[in-house]
Symmetry: C2
Subunit: 83 residues, 2 copies
Amino acid sequence: MLEWLKEPEINFPDQLQHAGFEHGVCVGQIQAKAGLTQSTVSEYLSILQRAGFIEAKRVGQWTYYKRNEGAFEALSNLIQSNL
Amino acid sequence: MLEWLKEPEINFPDQLQHAGFEHGVCVGQIQAKAGLTQSTVSEYLSILQRAGFIEAKRVGQWTYYKRNEGAFEALSNLIQSNL
DNA sequence: CAAATATATCGACTTTTCCCGATATACCAA
DNA sequence: TTGGTATATCGGGAAAAGTCGATATATTTG
């Protein structure tokens, strides 16, 4: 999922017609591509959010998630310096 | 354990008298510090070895493990470029 | 070779994680 | 306000990971 969110236009072309990608990709799109149930995907995304890897933005009935690039860089740096 | 192995002299002072740290730290030393059973620690170390994070060197009845720094750098780079 | 020591492997049990269906909540439209 | 759609949360069963004791293997020493 994290890799998918690097290139929303390529991985979630269906969303383009409805919303853009300014706020990220909505849960339903990710769920369809993941082939897991709605509840599972929703839980995954909230875990990733709590961990700081993605950010959520609620717009109407949709929740859009997008990557927080800083978190990945921080993780990379942490592995390099602390591990 | 991986952090401990960054500074064997500091974290495993007992071993200094017997062997050096050329080949790393032996299982018994790590086990004592970890506070887990011998079998658990042995299994951990073999998992870390198969994953490439540490290297094993058998010397007599002892097995010494030391970090493979390249693996950590590779992981850091992988996160930075692929994730 | 026998006993002692260090490590590895095996089988079982416990804890955690994964994933689901059911249900709750939030929002929108008529 | 009623019904439809999107997402979140909850409870539970299945799968995986963690951990142990017992035992096997390898090595050294006498």
